[in-house]
């Protein structure tokens, strides 16, 4: 793990007290002690049709007054058997299905899958494609965090903020629309690169967006970070220490809010992350408020990364020239017989894949997303297993809810950023 960069709270230069693990455990224990066994409880079902539950997650909670005693989570309402579907599809065909995992950050899903397949096939991705992927991935992270922020603040009752966030997310969706035609389900990554090159004028437009967004973030900070009601509500609730996070395999911003500077972009760099300079956002209080701060910081870092990638964007191909594993450039297919045969073989038969197993994890906006592929040498995976962050985060919910108040439950659930498409698969 890389060294933890220092990062003060919103108070500026003022020295911030960093709670030790013991202190955090004590705070957590204080919450847990509000649960008394043997009390008469009433049962309330939060979801899957609850108006403010995120997606079709169900949490049946037993309440002692306003205190949550027990939580029974229910997932699987959005199960589509994605992993089984993968076994019926060639490696190329599965890319659009990955869009439907975490539909809020679909490029990140494309990217994670392609990285794993490339590792299996040993495909070398051209430098320009790696830069484009980095830009697209960070734009996805921005879109994801902005949407998360709006919804999360609405969990605490502020309605207007939701619409402000949606408006700002539009700028990013417009950028994606320019580059691949789709606003939500991008399917932009391909094995060995990306499907299309950046269109004319895109770089300038993207630069103006990432220059503009930090100004919006300043406005968010003015509205939320120092808002007394939000501070009162979000501090010291949903404490989940680094130990808890390890026990429940929680990653991403939630883990980074506990003082652990784990970020696969830094620890096991992929795409162009080893060529850009950025900081891993870390906070220490392990509560809902600090998860918010981590994501605010990450959004600023994303803008920084995109700006650097745009400055250093190399020329060259955007798709690897590798006939056995990679689709040909579309523009050549109807002109060049070799490309046409390559296209035909990939579409009808599929790529040539070596036998073997591979695991590849990348840092998607919600945490670590891992793809495990077992190949028997055929054009379709023998077994494909996805390890998506929302699944692990969703199962930790009962541990997080214990002893918290019903009013905070929605806020706590929101703070770990679960998308049910990602969780149920």
């Amino acid at each position: 793990m890389s060294g933890a960069p220092t990062n003060g709270h919103a108070h500026g230069a003022e020295e911030v007290h960093r709670p030790t693990l013991e202190e955090l455990k004590e705070r957590k224990l204080y919450t847990r002690q509000r649960v008394h066994e043997g009390q008469e409880t009433i049962t309330v079902s939060m979801g899957p049709q609850h108006p403010s539950m995120h997606g079709v997650y169900q949490a049946v909670v037993d309440l002692d007054g306003e205190i949550i005693v027990r939580t029974r989570p229910g997932i699987g309402n959005l199960h589509r058997g994605v992993e089984k579907l993968a076994e019926q599809m060639t490696y190329h065909q599965f890319i659009p299905v990955t869009d439907r995992l975490d539909y809020v950050a679909s490029f990140a899903m494309n990217h994670g899958y392609c990285e794993a397949v490339e590792k299996l096939m040993g495909v070398e991705v051209p430098r320009r494609a790696r830069y484009i992927r980095t830009i697209a991935h960070e734009l996805t992270r921005l879109a994801n965090h902005i949407l998360w922020l709006g919804v999360h603040i609405m969990d605490f009752g502020a309605q207007t903020f939701f619409l402000i966030c949606f408006r700002d997310r539009e700028y990013i969706l417009d950028l994606f629309e320019m580059v691949c035609g789709a606003r939500l389900t991008h399917s932009y990554a391909r094995i060995g690169g990306v499907s299309k090159d950046l269109p004319e004028g895109w770089v300038g437009r993207c630069r103006s967006v990432v220059d503009f967004l930090p100004k919006r973030f300043d406005e968010y900070e003015r509205l939320i970070t120092s808002n007394r009601i939000f501070n009162k509500r979000a501090r010291n609730i949903g404490i989940f220490t680094s130990e808890d996070c390890n026990a429940w395999r929680i990653t991403g911003p939630t883990l980074r809010s506990t003082g652990v500077a784990r970020d696969l972009r830094k620890d096991e760099p992929y795409a162009a992350y080893d060529e850009v300079d950025f900081e891993v956002a870390v906070e220490y209080n392990s509560d809902v408020y600090d998860r918010f701060l981590v994501r605010m910081k990450e959004m600023r870092e994303s803008c920084k990364i995109i700006r650097q990638c745009l400055d250093n964007l190399p020329d060259g191909p955007y798709l690897a020239d590798d006939a056995a594993h990679v689709l040909p450039l579309k523009k050549n297919v109807l002109r060049d017989s070799a490309a046409m045969i390559q296209d035909f073989m990939h579409v009808i038969h599929g790529p040539h894949v070596p036998k073997g197993e591979v695991y590849r994890a990348i840092e998607v906006p919600k945490g670590e997303m891992g793809v495990y592929i077992v190949s028997d040498g055929g054009p379709k995976p023998q077994r494909l297993r996805l390890s998506t962050p929302s699944f692990y985060h969703g199962q930790a919910v009962p541990a997080m809810f214990e002893g918290e108040m019903l009013s905070d439950s929605v806020g706590i659930f929101g703070s770990i950023d679960v998308v049910l498409g990602d969780c149920d698969r």
């Binding site: 049962t43 309330v44 403010s52 009752g157 502020a158 207007t160 619409l163 019903l406 009013s407």
Partner: protein, 323 residues
Amino acid sequence: MEMSLPLTFAAGLLWGAAAFTIVGALTAGLVLAERKVSARIQGRVGPMHTGPHGALQTIADMIKLVMKEDVRPARADATAFRLGPLLVAVPAILSLAVIPFGAPLVMRDLNVGVLYFLAIPGVTVIGLLLAGWASYDNYSFLGGLRSSAQFISYEIPRSLTVVTVVMLAGSLSTVDVLDAQATVPYAVLLPFSFFLYCVTSLAEINRLPFDMPEAESELVAGYHTEYSGFRWALFFLAEYAGFFAAAAFGAVLFLGGGNGPLLPPIVWLAVKTAALLFIGMWIRFTLPRFRADQLMRLAWKVFLPASLANLVLAALIMRALGS
């Protein structure tokens, strides 16, 4: 003038129908205004299609609500379920009776008008509790409990705040309170009272940041989760009638109501009420919401001592004014 009992009854029915119509129209206007204000704050346009600039949208909504099927949960307590919305809506309409809209438009100049205004909404608590309990639903039940706790808690600092006005005016009649402000409105003499009144009123009428009873992020819609159609419309009506009454009463108590140069009193009161209503809407679409226990702590540990201190302050001001 003595009237026979049936005649009195008929007259009462007529007055009641008139009051209901007026309050209904008021609510329609207020809902439209709120939708337009919220749209403006959120960078939208709001309703645009029904009538010019969506002016008839709330009328259409009301017709829809009245024509809806009357749904009652199978296990709900039928009598209490029906009684709940009535006990919420009727006090909200009744509380408008003592507001002096201008010389000929005071429905009743009670000599205890201020007390009446504070006391009547107390009945609402029973309605909310009944509605929440009778629905046979945990969201409603919790919502009903929360709202009754909140109502009772915030009624105390609110009443204590209004007492300062009564002290200065020397009368419980709303008309006398208005007359006492002929030169200087009480918002100038008692700015702290005015502030306290506005904040506790927001809590009293269940609006953000104090809209705990119907906190939709955890309790779906609180006590009225199971209600639909006309019964739900009654809750809605009560909410907006209460909002309007609190603003109008605030304008009377602290801003000199209909007092003002040139324009007739009714216009002045409308302007002042509208200003308070706008602030209420502005707050609703800007702030997040408090948590139930924080709300209670705020009521008992902050607002109650503050309103008591305010009482002493008002006494000192009275002394200084030499009245």
